[in-house]
Symmetry: C2
Subunit: 298 residues, 2 copies
Amino acid sequence: MRHLMVYDMIEAVHRAGSIRKAAEDTNITASALNRRIQAFEQEFGSEIFERLPRGMRLNPAGELLLHHIRSQRQDLARIHSQVADLSGVRRGHVKIACSQALLPYFLPRQISIYRRDFPAVTFSVNVRDRIQAEQDLVNFESDIALVYEPAHMVDFEVLHVVAQPVLAVMSRAHPLAARRELRLRECLDYDLLLPGRQYGVRVLLDAAAHRIGRPLEPALETESFEMIRHCAAYGQAIGFQIPVGLNELARPDLAYVPLSGKDVAGGQLYLGHLRGRTLPVAALKFANQIAAALGDAA
Amino acid sequence: MRHLMVYDMIEAVHRAGSIRKAAEDTNITASALNRRIQAFEQEFGSEIFERLPRGMRLNPAGELLLHHIRSQRQDLARIHSQVADLSGVRRGHVKIACSQALLPYFLPRQISIYRRDFPAVTFSVNVRDRIQAEQDLVNFESDIALVYEPAHMVDFEVLHVVAQPVLAVMSRAHPLAARRELRLRECLDYDLLLPGRQYGVRVLLDAAAHRIGRPLEPALETESFEMIRHCAAYGQAIGFQIPVGLNELARPDLAYVPLSGKDVAGGQLYLGHLRGRTLPVAALKFANQIAAALGDAA
DNA sequence: GAGGATCGGTGCAAAAAATGCAGCGCAAGA
DNA sequence: TCTTGCGCTGCATTTTTTGCACCGATCCTC
């Protein structure tokens, strides 16, 4: 869209922090870029950047405008997607922010199912923790978010919720592997494999441990859920994950035992989008598919 | 906004129905206009007009785009208003769709009160019946609507509701003028002054009359509520209005007697805006003022 | 059924706008 | 103090847009 290029330039200057740097990214001269920004500000009626000795920064008016630009662009994308839809071709691009647990099995499977029907739809998946995910929606960097125990939920409009209790993950050879349910205190006798504090599973476990007065002291703290699974497989350590991130068939060497609801509050997996947004057709259809898949699993 | 001029042109062509007519309105040559439309369609990726022998008409894609254009423009106006707000000057323009009853006393008073505080805010008021009002919101021709008994309410997001019972309006010399309450059948003995069927008062009265099996036969049917009041003053005929459209002080020659709730369902006056819209600052503040004023009256 | 009116579209030259280049003044950091 | 990077501007050049004249097609009227 040539007539919206000013917007691209404004965003470029915002990202680069200075006109000259932005000019390089935009394949344009700094002077031309400068004059377009100035012309826009004059039309707009007020400055949108504050001029600092070291470059440009958006002022409050600019922040407001930036949000408009992003929202406007998203809406245009939605129009495009709807137009493509009514001409019979299902095209589009779906941007997803999700918790790490969805990466290994759930999302790949769902995306592959979706693309079997609509191969012209492309996807981008961003791993985000429970705070970042919502921010991603606000910045229009993701269309939908699939998050375990999201943090604020002020700009998050819920499409679907499903309970995901915390499971203890251990080797099949582990003494506790055959149990139907575990108390948290039983786990504390073994080495603990825990994700970082930015993850929902850890938040729930920390809260539960705090209630019984025995703070968690992990033998391994990592950001990788995959690493937790692997470590659990080779020893007596216990990891923790949620059902949606696991696949019984894939790893016959692991056992999964739910923690008692008396100890650990049952966490929930939220599917949602930015409050008030109208999703592009492709994103909406995919969200519906995910909701259905989660509903079946629950 | 020079860079959004294509949008103006698209709307102009849509309104005028042909490029050549639109060219006159836009102070531009038909050829230039034609080429801009073509260039836009190429960028956009699909045609937005169907070429008829007699001119141009928006195709479905164009309709979608048109709505985006309007919504986009409104959002930009909101940004402007917010920017003006944070620079201390309260400026803006508020577009209101309302029932006729609001015109003589209520809205003039409210607008004057508002403009006493914010003289830089301007207003436009469109009289719309219960169906047109909602359409006005959808087309972004009005920011807020104040309607008695609106029709569909699918795109109408309610901000405030207040009960407005139907009153019989008659001369103070009328035999029924001193009554505290009237039954509908009592009114039927006199000549009736009724508004057209597109008005909420008439809808309620017709429904009530149908229930008691005596269809209304108006002596005068008019679109002008003012005319109804004047006719009521000079004779024994009875008109019907709602409280918000009346002012006790202004006409000491008229009496207002509520109809019994047993006969006529108490109608309601709705204040609202387009579902999902974020109103400009000025419109929002004015809506809040109106809601407060209606709340006091109720 | 002929003729006029109106429609969208196009080739070409003129007008207008955007761009690139070189250079200015200024402030921060080395 | 000198250098570096910043935003900004005058001027020549390039690119884009516009206006004018005109084409073929369709519809309405007489």
